[in-house]
Subunit: 138 residues, 3 copies
């Protein structure tokens, strides 16, 4: 059995957004008990990560770290039409993920105790980000 | 239903190659309308990425960025038998992806408007790179 | 057909551990000949990578490289309750993978000649790491 659904998440500019609940909601609307949940992001200037969901400082430190690693507006970039966050966003996307698969067990996403699924907006301005969620079971 | 096929892509040395068309071709030879397409690269000195396919400067900037991040021939490397690009290629591979899953919708890879699937050759010299494409549907 | 199993791997502190054999063992206990093997790590301070399994210097160089890229105990980190390796481990995890899918062919993991699947412990102290392996076939 396979179920595929597209969702759209609004962002408020550069930040991480916990989307575990949105994906769980799609899963719960099915009767899948065991299987796999694939989440795909249809954009190249945002990304998906799994990281700690308990202490918000983790995501603040991640943002600060990557902002130093991938400098906005580096004069070496040629692709800069959309501003200093344009090329930096593509690099951040390539260093993280565009798609993640999570096991389904007992009708739930089988995440670890401290794991959350996050959409990471890398652009300064708000965007609407489209994702396709594909659930498969036996 | 599941279809699995191996393809081989020749590279001309360090560069990104758009392989979206090659994977689409395998998909179109099946009658799969909805499902998932998994692409796996059988090498540790090249990688797979999804990034912008419109402005070639994005891939030029990515290459320049990663060449500064992962220095070729760093004297700290012990694994250097095959030259200055040897260990750098393994590191670039670990910081990006060896395998990517893309949803299939309406018989096509459901990529975003600006997304392309690229093989990134990290070695200086041409290589033949093997990939396994696995398509699954309901 | 789908088979899902959870395994637990003890680590001895910061290091890479080849877990290809453990995953192969689960695969061999089934009669799956062709399909996909998904491996998911239920932690945010360790990761999964595919890299060269022949020369151990590759993994030594990877560890040295990432230790310079992601500095332990950086005073910029706010999330530091568990020590200097705490936030660094989360960053290393986000820059690598929490889950990897490998094709199955002829009843074996279809890895390249030099590819191994490794669990990368990013914390200084030993941990027990839980993984879920999901095998799917036609």
């Amino acid at each position: 059995m396979m179920e595929q659904q597209t969702i759209s998440i609004p962002t408020q500019g550069r930040a991480t957004i916990d989307i575990t609940g949105e994906v769980e909601q799609i899963l719960r609307a099915t009767d899948i008990e065991q299987g796999l949940c694939h989440v795909f992001l249809h954009h190249t200037s945002a990304s998906l990560i799994i990281t700690e969901n308990a202490d918000a400082d983790v995501r603040r430190d991640l943002e600060n770290y990557i902002a130093r690693l991938v400098v906005d507006g580096d004069p070496a970039y040629r692709h800069d039409q959309e501003g200093p966050d344009d090329m930096a966003a593509h690099i951040r996307s390539v260093l993280t993920q565009s798609e993640i698969t999570i096991p389904i067990r007992a009708g739930r996403l089988a995440l670890g105790t401290w794991q959350g699924l996050f959409l990471w907006e890398h652009r300064y301005h708000p965007h609407r980000r489209n994702l396709t969620v594909t659930l498969t079971s036996v």
